[in-house]
């Protein structure tokens, strides 16, 4: 998932305590700040997992991806929230 919140993390990890722990770890590693875990909009991890994002370490990206049940993908670098090369859309 690229938009983790407490609800979908609970489905992924099996119980709410693990989900809460995962949410907090993702928020911490991804530089989201301390976000209310009940916040319905969740976190946008796609921009964090982008190869172009140099603010988050590769180790942290791999851990976030694992907590979200995602594999690192090339396409993370192709949308607006990732840095673009000048002149390219």
């Amino acid at each position: 998932m690229l938009n983790p919140n407490l609800e979908n993390l609970t489905e992924l990890h099996g119980d709410s305590q693990k989900a809460l722990s995962a949410f907090r770890e993702i928020a911490d590693l991804g530089g989201f700040g301390v976000v209310d875990p009940t916040y319905r909009g969740g976190l946008d991890v796609a921009g964090v997992l982008s190869d172009a994002n140099t603010a988050v370490s590769e180790a942290a990206k791999n851990r976030i991806a694992k907590l979200c049940g995602e594999k690192r993908k090339e396409e993370f670098a192709t949308t607006s929230s990732a840095a673009k090369e000048p002149g390219k859309k």
Partner: protein, 210 residues
């Protein structure tokens, strides 16, 4: 010594003309990332913003505001301030929304006071959608106004508050002759544990400028 001219740039296309779309319940972006936008139409990317909610039409557009206040300091020996300090900072979006009877939308504008519920027709009881008003926990939302750039069709400007709520409540005129609308004042709150340069929000566009 001879002088030379410096080129002017009137920036006539870098102007704010187009209508915007007001979205709430967006995902919060992480470090060095931004709201993911579907570039084809300027809507929030549905995968990364699964809960995104469009707040509907405005009566006359939206006012966007980033407002620091500066505290100036004077010394006796000089008449003008010699240094300053950012005393406070506000970032917000104000608009007049017309979707008065959209109970779900109105519920999102009453943080800490409204509870939404629905019920089906049952015997003599009518079906209903309601907002019960009282006290409850305050919740914040990630809110953005997205508009098409005048300078480049198909590119977008984004005014994003990471954590915000409407502090104006709801107030409208119910009338036969006038379009009802409610003023909303969406104010941003800092997420204090983010990077110091990125706690409140982000104003950006999908075009790289030199």
């Amino acid at each position: 010594m001879a002088t030379s001219a410096t080129a002017k740039n009137w920036r006539a296309t870098a102007t704010a003309f187009n209508p915007g779309n007001l979205w709430t319940d967006l995902a919060i972006p992480g470090a060095a990332a931004r709201l993911r936008v579907h570039e084809a139409d300027g809507t929030p990317d549905a995968t990364a913003n699964a809960s995104a909610f469009h707040l509907g039409a405005t009566k006359a557009g939206a006012d966007l505001m980033i407002a620091p206040t500066y505290d100036n300091f004077n010394v006796d020996e000089f008449r003008a301030p010699i240094i300053t300090n950012v005393g406070s900072l506000e970032m917000g979006i104000a608009a007049e929304l017309v979707a008065i009877t959209d109970i779900v939308a109105m519920n999102k504008l009453l943080s800490g006071v409204s509870t939404y519920a629905t019920g089906a027709l049952s015997g003599d009881d009518a079906a209903y959608s309601e907002l019960r008003i009282g006290a409850k926990a305050i919740t914040y939302a990630s809110i953005a106004l997205i508009f098409e750039l005048k300078e480049t069709a198909g590119e977008w400007g984004i005014f994003h508050l990471y954590s915000a709520l409407n502090n104006a409540g709801l107030k409208w005129k119910q009338s036969r002759k006038e379009l009802g609308f409610t003023p909303v004042n969406l104010v941003g709150y800092e997420i204090t544990t983010r990077a110091a340069t990125d706690t409140l929000g982000c104003y950006w566009k999908t075009v790289q400028t030199s």
